[in-house]
């Protein structure tokens, strides 16, 4: 029983990270209809910024703040400069371009900081079951989920963003600057990606730190339904728990295979994810 609880705690805290990255994927998918493979690049840039700032100032929270700001700027910049010229042309090309962007960012980070691992601090003490660091991870994702919900559901900005995503032309006729809303969506998503980077980065940071985390995040978004922010969070927690139980009871080497089984099972029952239909689109 104790083992089960341990595994549950583990699953929740890693699931929280998958949920955050999945949520950022869904926000971008809703805005641009594109699975953004550059998402881990935002997390990387942010986490390395934090690393540099923490090293220079010795303040974790200064680094944390810098990471979020850099994440937001990177997202907005990428949408404007790289994505907008190609997004309307071909879905596949857009995916490959985001992949190209990821390669560039990983390479540049390798050039600057090398491929070896650098230590990145936790926000809080990380020892023990459900440590303060774990609590922080789960709590901050919960806060983000609530904030995103309130933003999209109740704020004028959220209303504009939804209108721009669903019916760009009708939104323009109501005076919404659609391009600006897409940029805002990318900025919000990459800020969440930066947060995920700060949670998943420690203890060690390398150019490939987030590769696997990102794969599970895509999986989480897909099983949750790419059009559903709630689905993303649900999918993230589901993936986290499933993989934690499987690596605890069967063996860590089959955890990714377990993920494969979960995906095949869920998608064979619901090919568009658990919470996919427009009814669930109301966040």
């Amino acid at each position: 029983m104790e083992k089960f609880l341990d595994l549950t705690y583990n699953g929740l805290s890693s699931g929280a990270v998958y949920a955050a990255l999945a949520l950022s994927l869904v926000i971008i998918f809703q805005a641009t209809r594109l699975v953004n493979f550059a998402q881990p690049a935002f997390a990387l840039v942010s986490a390395y910024t934090a690393f540099a700032v923490i090293q220079a100032t010795d303040s974790y929270w200064l680094g944390f703040g810098a990471a979020l700001v850099v994440g937001a700027l990177a997202g907005a910049l990428v949408e404007r400069v790289v994505i907008r010229p190609i997004a309307s042309k071909s879905e596949l090309n857009a995916i490959i371009v985001t992949l190209g962007l990821l390669l560039v960012v990983q390479g540049v980070i390798g050039m600057v900081w090398g491929s070896r691992e650098h230590g990145l601090r936790y926000a809080f003490d990380y020892k023990g079951d459900f440590s303060p660091a774990d609590v922080f991870a789960v709590a901050s994702i919960a806060v983000v989920a609530v904030l995103v919900f309130v933003l999209y559901r109740f704020s004028p900005l959220g209303l504009r963003m939804r209108a721009a995503a669903f019916r760009p032309e009708a939104a323009r006729l109501s005076g919404v600057k659609v391009g600006l809303m897409l940029t805002a969506g990318w900025a919000i998503a990459s800020t969440i990606g930066a947060l995920a980077g700060m949670l998943a980065g420690p203890p060690f940071l390398s150019p490939h730190s987030f590769d696997l985390v990102f794969v599970f995040a895509i999986t989480a978004a897909v099983i949750g339904g790419l059009d559903s922010p709630f689905g993303a969070i649900l999918g993230g927690l589901l993936m986290g728990l499933a993989m934690s139980y499987v690596s605890g009871y069967v063996g860590p080497e089959v955890a990714t295979l377990a993920a494969l089984v979960v995906v095949v099972l869920v998608l064979s029952l619901r090919p568009d994810g658990i919470l996919s239909r427009p009814k669930a689109r109301k966040v």
Binding site: F29, V35, F37, V82, P85, I86, K89, S90, E91, L92, N93, I95, I96, V97, L99, G100, L101, L102, L103, V104, V105, Q106, G107, V108, G110, M111, V112, W113, G114, S115, D211, L212, V215, I218, T219, A221, V222, I223, L226, G251, E253, V254, A255, T256, L257, A259, L260, V263, V264, L267, S268, P271, D272, G273
Partner: protein, 364 residues
């Protein structure tokens, strides 16, 4: 996948035109040959040319040509799946892994079998794998299919660790392959022989792929790609067409994997990573989706791009961090820029140049 200039890309899908009416007396002799025979003749011609080239190349170059060969086969299979049937797979490397490990197990446990028999068994095994994956994913579309195949590419190498005794864990499997056959040792080196064998298999397989893609199944796949609903209403069995595309693609991938281990001698989980699968798709789009020529440019890019950039970095005597990461950054920038300015990839550039030349010739 929507591509604005599908029509043009179509024309380049291997020189087949089975759909055209029976050859009129006016049509050339070439057109009157049935397309399988025509494709085989082309393959034979290509093989002669490549073998000739091989005889004047160093051993190292020969091995690189072999790498171009099996990479080309893998990408051509993916090409049929993505460009032909519109199903985007991020897990093509998984099929290469299945092929490579099957080949290794056959060589290790049934050493008496000849190479041809091994390759035939690999074909069957990877076709079955493709059938399973294709059937499991036939209902998925777009990003959902991409997500499912992505996790396949990440998950499958886990098997090698799980079944350590049989599959060798992270050390993988190691085989020794016979070199040049007796009687030819003086004429060709082992490496040259290996490369010729690889290209023989690759070109045979490509001839089959071209025939399929020019035939009825190819037309059905394209109609499914363009509009599933319309295809279904026109009587195309959508589900089985999509599965068939998966089976063909996985067979090509598996065969490519088998040829890879035949050349390299080892198969480890670290060869068949997610990065491999993503690279295969990325270079396919870079080369040009919808054309077999695009697959060739893609294969050349995989083998030579990194090599050239590493050489260049070495010449410039840069700091090792920069040098090690230069190929990655360069590849990323090439992807972004080519797709930004030439959405149809390298083949698209060539087609545009050719069209411009034709135009200036007719205007003259």
């Amino acid at each position: 996948m929507s591509s604005p200039t599908r029509e043009r890309a179509e024309g380049a899908t291997a020189p087949t035109s089975q759909g055209s009416p029976p050859a009129s007396p006016k049509a050339g002799f070439w057109k009157r040959i049935p397309s399988p025979v025509r494709n085989l003749l082309l393959a034979a011609l290509a093989l002669t040319a490549i073998s000739g080239l091989m005889l004047f190349s160093s051993d190292l170059s020969s091995l690189r040509y072999a790498a171009v060969g099996y990479t080309l086969l893998a990408i051509a299979g993916l090409q049929l799946l993505v460009g032909g049937s519109g199903q985007v797979s991020l897990g093509h490397g998984a099929f290469m892994m299945i092929g490579a490990y099957s080949m290794a197990l056959l060589v290790l446990h049934l050493p008496m079998l000849p190479l041809a028999a091994n390759l035939l068994i690999v074909v069957v095994v990877s076709a079955v794998a493709g059938l399973l994956v294709g059937a499991a994913t036939a209902r998925l579309h777009g990003p959902y299919l991409a997500g499912a195949t992505l996790i396949l590419a990440v998950g499958l190498p886990g098997l090698a660790h799980r079944y350590h005794d049989v599959l060798g864990g992270s050390n993988g499997l190691r085989i020794r392959v016979a070199g040049a056959p007796p009687g030819l040792e003086n004429l060709v080196s082992d490496e040259q022989w290996t490369s010729i064998v690889v290209w023989t298999v690759v070109l045979l397989a490509l001839a089959v792929l071209a025939t399929v893609s020019g035939g009825r199944l190819g037309r059905r796949m394209r109609s499914v790609r363009d509009d599933e609903t319309a295809a279904a209403m026109a009587g195309v069995p959508v589900g089985s067409t999509k599965v068939a595309a998966f089976v063909i693609a996985s067979t090509a991938g598996g065969l490519a994997g088998a040829l890879q281990i035949y050349v390299l001698g080892t198969a480890t989980p670290s060869i068949f990573t997610l990065a491999l699968s993503l690279t295969l798709l990325a270079v396919l789009v870079l080369g040009g989706v919808g054309s077999m020529w695009g697959a060739l440019w893609a294969a050349l890019a995989v083998v030579y791009l990194e090599l050239w950039v590493s050489d260049l970095a070495g010449l410039l005597e840069m700091n090792s961090n920069v040098e090690n990461n230069l190929p990655l950054v360069f590849f990323g920038i090439v992807l972004i820029l080519v797709l930004r300015f030439w959405p149809l990839g390298i083949q698209g550039i060539f087609q545009r140049l050719a069209a411009r030349r034709r135009l200036s010739e007719t205007s003259r």
